[in-house]
């Protein structure tokens, strides 16, 4: 998978709760290749980046995603400039 990060294709990624702890950061800007156009493809790409991501996404059924602060599904489209957050099922209230 390409490690090149072309300018103009930057995603703002946020991680919460145990995803943040496993990945080791709460926020980063990454530029995946242009064929990464859905949430599911983004996760595939992230998992290939290293063991922290592998641990975070080991069980995808326990991971939720929001694209630009709206809950998203694996097939939700993503575009450069989007804010994409990954987190466990919420437990507030």
């Amino acid at each position: 998978m390409s490690q090149s990060q072309p300018a103009g294709n930057t995603l703002n990624l946020l991680y919460f709760a145990w995803l943040r702890e496993r990945i080791g950061t709460g926020e980063e800007s990454l530029s995946p290749p242009s064929e990464v156009t859905t949430v599911a493809a983004l996760i595939d790409w992230l998992v290939a980046r290293g063991p922290g991501y592998q641990a975070a996404f080991a069980n995808r059924r326990t991971v939720r995603c929001a694209v630009n602060q709206d809950f998203a599904a694996p097939e939700t489209a993503i575009a450069p400039g989007d804010e994409i957050a990954f987190f466990p099922p919420v437990t507030g209230g």
Binding site: Q69, A85, P88, G93
Partner: protein
């Protein structure tokens, strides 16, 4: 119309009720739910609980939940306050108030609001136990089922 706040400090139920009912002559009942930090989790003693959230999304998600309640019941106001940061056993976590001319709408909306807050607002809780261990609270299917009731 809804009051929505995310804050570290505690809330005062009586003061929030007073704000909610000010100049609202048609209110006949206020439903309320207060969530508090339990001192035990599966009989393991809890030292503290830390609440993390997703700042740019939280208020938006809470506003959407309140708007859904206001569309569904004849409400004369509602209040959602959720605390963040580190809390101790017995501390308040969340306050839901729903005011209406009639009690059933107020009580139903209160149940709806807390069920949806629990399943749709981006908060996460981590418990720190007395023995020093810590663990993120896992979402439970009971909460999902409770929230799903309102979809019928």
């Amino acid at each position: 119309m809804a009051t929505i706040r995310i804050q570290s400090e505690d809330f005062d139920v009586a003061a929030e009720c007073a704000v909610l009912t000010r100049n609202q002559a048609a209110i006949g009942g206020i439903g309320c739910f207060i969530g508090t930090v339990r001192g035990f989790s599966k009989s393991r003693e809890i030292r503290s609980m830390t609440l993390e959230h997703y700042p740019t999304m939280t208020e938006r998600a809470m506003a959407a939940i309140a708007a859904t309640a206001e569309a569904r019941w004849q409400l004369l106001g509602c209040t959602l306050i959720h605390r963040i940061g580190t809390l101790l056993p017995g501390d308040n976590i969340v306050l839901v108030l729903a005011a209406s001319a009639h009690r059933q709408a107020a009580l139903d909306a209160t149940g709806f609001l807390i069920d949806w807050l629990k399943t749709r607002a981006p908060f996460w809780k981590k418990e720190l136990f007395s023995d020093g261990a810590e663990a993120w609270i896992e979402a439970n299917t009971e909460d999902d089922n409770a929230a799903a009731r309102w979809s019928q």
